[in-house]
């Protein structure tokens, strides 16, 4: 599955930073072994085949009945999510997805574990310069993948001596805003950096502003809409980003401006499509071979 392959890609970075990596599912050992060999997975893929640990965590998907999807082992799957633990098994952070087909990308997990700002992947970067401001747009991964939550990263460089207005500034100022659009994507809430307060032109109270370089990010997912649009998965997806802002210095304000940029995002082939029939067939084959039920 795509996420495990992406996680393999960040395993060494996590280990260098003193974190080990584990994945847990209700897959039988044999299925995990086969997958690990096929995709060169070297971190522990743990088999909770009777969902004991999943239940102990209290995250078993109880919407699936025991008699449903038996060959696929649907019953007993966890709600998909990630725990970040300290060295004493204490949760320091966690991230869960309401939809069981959606999951965090490798780069998102790494950045969250290390509490670091994500690196923009240079293969997916687009720079747009207006008269005064520079905007760089990128992705946390070299390519988007269906139902994997990546981050769209927008870096805005405000020249020295100037500021832009943040959320909470009075209506007379055009506040910095970001709009993202594309067919076949879903985006989450925009994460804004902390703003500064400053006394500004003609306003008695301090106003929230941004200065210097700021990083704005939002979760971005390619949905199965893209398959339906073209009847097969396209190679790339065009994402349009609109940044509205108004710059001022200590003496005057410039007119509100708009920067529009387009990011051509590559869409990766998926690991998934081979999975469904392979899985059911393998479960049946292992049962025939070993004579014991793995479902």
């Amino acid at each position: 599955m795509t996420q495990l392959v992406q996680l393999q890609g960040i395993k060494e970075n996590l280990e260098e930073a003193g974190y080990s990596l584990f994945a847990i599912s209700n897959d039988p050992v044999e299925i995990l072994g086969e997958f690990a060999v096929k995709h060169d997975i070297t971190f522990p893929l743990l088999s909770d085949s009777d969902s004991t640990v999943i239940r102990a965590f209290g995250i078993m998907n109880e919407l699936i009945r025991p008699d449903e999807g038996r060959s696929m082992r649907w019953y007993g799957i966890p709600y998909p999510g990630t725990y970040y633990l300290d060295a004493n098994m204490i949760v320091t952070d966690k991230d869960f997805h309401q939809h069981h087909a959606r999951r965090a990308s490798g780069a998102s997990v790494l950045a969250r574990a290390l509490g670091e700002e994500m690196e923009v992947h240079s293969e997916a970067e687009s720079v747009s310069v207006s008269g005064q401001i520079e905007v760089a747009i990128g992705l946390s991964e070299p390519a988007l993948q269906l139902e994997v939550v990546s981050q769209l990263l927008i870096d805005i460089e405000i020249p020295e001596g100037l500021h832009a207005y943040a959320s909470g500034a009075p209506d007379q100022f055009a506040r910095l805003s970001v709009e993202v659009g594309a067919d076949g994507i879903r985006t989450g809430d925009v994460s804004w950096p902390a703003s500064e307060s400053m006394k500004t032109l003609g306003v008695d109270e301090a106003v929230p502003v941004y200065k210097g370089r700021i990083r704005v990010s939002l979760p971005i997912t390619v949905t199965s809409d893209v398959i339906r649009l073209g009847h097969e998965i396209p190679e790339t997806l065009q994402v349009s980003v609109t940044v509205d802002f108004q710059l001022c210095d200590d003496d005057e304000c410039f007119l509100p401006e708009r920067i529009q940029a387009t990011l051509i995002c590559a869409l990766d082939r998926l690991v998934e499509p081979e999975g469904l029939s392979t899985y059911a067939e393998r479960v049946e084959a292992i049962e025939a071979q070993t004579g014991r039920p793995v479902r």
Partner: protein, 76 residues
């Protein structure tokens, strides 16, 4: 039949030939259980890995800790 027929769309933006009442198309409410909260100790995890060797997560954590990813399956 065109590839777009016989598809069922859900509120998360997923199309699938499976009806929304099928097991894999049921999704929890927004406030679904997500297990131990930040600051809590997680239950003990001792499970076989892909080679069949037992792994005790508590014993295998790095010097700063670890990342534990729960997923539905390696294959689907």
């Amino acid at each position: 039949m065109s590839p777009t027929e016989n598809q069922y769309y859900d509120e998360f933006g997923f199309y699938s030939p499976q009806e929304l009442t099928r097991a894999t198309r049921r999704q929890p409410e927004k406030d679904f259980h997500t297990g131990p909260e930040v600051g809590e100790v997680v239950p003990s995890v001792v499970l076989p890995d892909q080679t069949g060797d037992l792994v005790d997560v508590a014993e295998s954590l790095g010097s700063n800790g670890g990342v534990v990813v729960f997923h539905r399956s390696a294959y689907w």
